[in-house]
């Protein structure tokens, strides 16, 4: 019995979600082999070295292929098939990257994936949220190889270092799948603030923000709190902020120590993305807003009055 961890990186750093996936993998029985794709430069070497030194990693398989960095699921899944056959578990974080790749690989090896698990109960028994987190299902599988994606917020990321594991470079030659799709371009939002899914504090704005420029009020407070900025689907749909800000059932799942919801009514789909936060603060002028039902601290106020006050109180 052994575990294949598909680790993820964005060209700059190893994904923290992968460190959470490693944490989940460490709860399963078996040695962990991590596979990662990287290019040859210095930053990339640092990422691979960091992965190799994380506690629990027994071996790293390094795939040097630039294409795979851009979520080239078609070719990468095909390349992983012969490797995956030797493992009992295949584990990845339930990030955009993992969600895109894992089902493709699972289908190629004819195994039924279990998505977004939050708890490991036994070697073949897992817990996962369904219906936007309004119910929690316990699932048992009879498959011989188990592909799993991990909800990163449910597992504390592994930080501890150990003896660096050996790194083995593997050659993956072009397959027919290489010609199925072509990467054209990427528009990656850059921010000096902490990454949304791993930030200790998140402050999010909703439809109540009314305009894109009003998010500056939230950003000012975020900078004082060293917080990440998020948004509800309504705010993204309205074009106030870009899609990578979205917290919710179909956006990003966060569980920070402190979540501040500003001008967010609290639709089921938004709550699904943040209700496991440790402390929830809601600021809304509607006292009946559903967000208040899950908030630890309720401030019933007009956000255009409350935000400047909050900003001042933080000085």
């Amino acid at each position: 019995m052994s575990i294949l961890l598909i680790a993820e990186q964005d060209g700059e750093t190893l994904a923290r979600a992968s460190q959470s996936a490693l944490s989940a993998a460490s709860l399963l029985k078996g040695e962990i082999t991590a596979v990662v794709t990287a290019e040859g430069d210095k930053t990339q070497k640092k990422i691979v070295d960091k992965l190799a030194a994380l506690k629990g990693v027994k071996k790293v398989l390094l795939v040097k292929n630039k294409r795979f960095l851009h979520e080239d699921a078609e070719a990468f899944a095909t390349a992983l098939v012969p490797i995956a056959q030797n493992f009992k578990y295949i584990v990845a974080a339930a990030t955009g990257y993992g969600k895109n790749l894992m089902p493709r690989l699972a289908a190629l090896i004819d195994k039924q994936q279990i998505s977004d698990i939050t708890e490991i109960l036994a070697e073949n028994r897992f817990r996962r949220p369904i219906y936007a987190g309004n119910a929690i299902a316990t699932i048992e599988t009879s498959d011989s190889i188990i592909p799993l994606t991990i909800r990163a917020t449910a597992f504390e990321p592994v930080e501890e270092q150990d003896q660096p594991a050996p790194i083995e470079e593997i050659e993956i030659t072009g397959s027919a799948e290489h010609s199925l799709a072509e990467f054209i371009d990427e528009k990656i939002s850059s921010s000096e603030r902490p990454e949304l899914t791993s930030a200790r504090i998140v402050i999010s704005g909703g439809r109540g923000m009314q305009a894109s420029e009003n998010f500056q009020m939230i950003e000012k407070i975020a900078d004082k709190l060293k917080a990440a900025v998020g948004a509800s689907r309504a705010a993204v749909d309205a074009g106030y902020v870009t899609n990578d800000y979205q917290v919710g059932q179909t956006g990003k799942i966060v569980a920070p120590e402190l979540y501040i919801a500003v001008g967010i009514s609290g639709a089921i789909q938004h709550l699904a993305g943040m209700k496991d936060s440790k402390v929830i603060v809601a600021i809304n002028k509607d006292p009946d807003a559903p967000i208040f039902r899950i908030a630890d601290y309720r401030l019933v106020a007009d956000l255009f009055v409350a935000l400047p006050e909050l900003d001042k109180a933080l000085e």
Binding site: A106, Q112, P129, N134, T138, T141, A181, L258
Partner: protein
């Protein structure tokens, strides 16, 4: 070019799921059921491609029991040309669904499969990627913009860091995200007309697929409840509580 749009009947997005008292699942009897919102968006895009003269026919398919046909009627009323139901349990596992859809796609000579990125009941987010794998086609998941020209589809994907554009040779599978389009409503005359369109029923065996159950649901429970919070009067009081009581800022 024929487009296949797989659709699913799910608990309506505005109904809060309730766990059954015996913990065997979520209550779906006597509650409002609807076409999965992501499927609606996929269907809308398929119909637009037909209206633009890029597609010739939009076929909708669902996997489920008799009542699943309700969403096929909805799809026909919105503008799908043809509907079929594979007679299998409502909660057939994604890999089996993908195998059934593969057989349909091959039989119907589909060139583009447009589908929701996930169903809002089980939130699996698997079927599209699995279907693409089984067919050996290219895939673009979480798509918020789509252009089809000749034999190439250019898709903008919503990824964790922002947006990504990739081009796929057709045939391909596209799974759609929320911001791709605003689905239309069916008009009353079209709803009436859709009632008369025959829906074909297909048995899984005739597609050469065995409906296996590899996953067993042991129990379904409610998530832990959060305690009722406290109301603060001002931002200053809030900051004070977060600093001195919670000690998180």
């Amino acid at each position: 070019m024929k487009i296949l749009v797989p659709v699913k009947r799910v608990l309506d997005a505005y109904v809060t799921a309730r766990v059954k008292p015996d913990n065997s699942g979520v209550v779906t009897d006597n509650v409002k059921m609807s076409l999965n919102p992501f499927c609606e968006i996929a269907l809308e895009q398929a119909i637009r491609l037909r209206e633009q003269g890029i597609a010739t026919e939009v076929i909708v398919a669902t996997i489920g029991e008799q009542r699943a046909e309700e969403v096929l009627r909805t799809a026909l009323a919105v503008g799908a040309d043809k509907a079929m139901r594979v007679n299998a349990p409502n909660q057939t596992e994604p890999l089996v669904v993908a195998k059934l859809l593969k057989a349909i796609a091959q039989k119907e000579q589909i060139k583009l499969c447009l589908m929701g990125k996930q169903a809002i009941d089980n939130d699996n987010n698997q079927t599209g990627q699995m279907l693409a794998a089984l067919l050996g086609w290219g895939q673009a998941t979480f798509v918020s913009k789509l252009e089809v020209q000749g034999k190439v589809a250019r898709a903008t994907r919503e990824i964790d860091g922002g947006l990504q554009i990739r081009e796929m040779k057709l045939p391909a599978v596209i799974t759609v995200d929320l911001r791709l389009n605003e689905p239309r409503y069916a008009s009353l005359p079209n709803i009436m007309k859709a009632r008369k369109i025959p829906i074909s029923t297909i048995e899984p065996q005739s597609l050469g697929v065995e409906v296996l159950e590899r996953l067993k649901i042991i129990e379904v429970v409610e998530p832990p409840k959060r305690e009722t919070g406290i109301e603060v009067e001002s931002a200053a009081e809030l900051v004070n509580a977060l600093k001195n009581k919670e000690k998180i800022i």
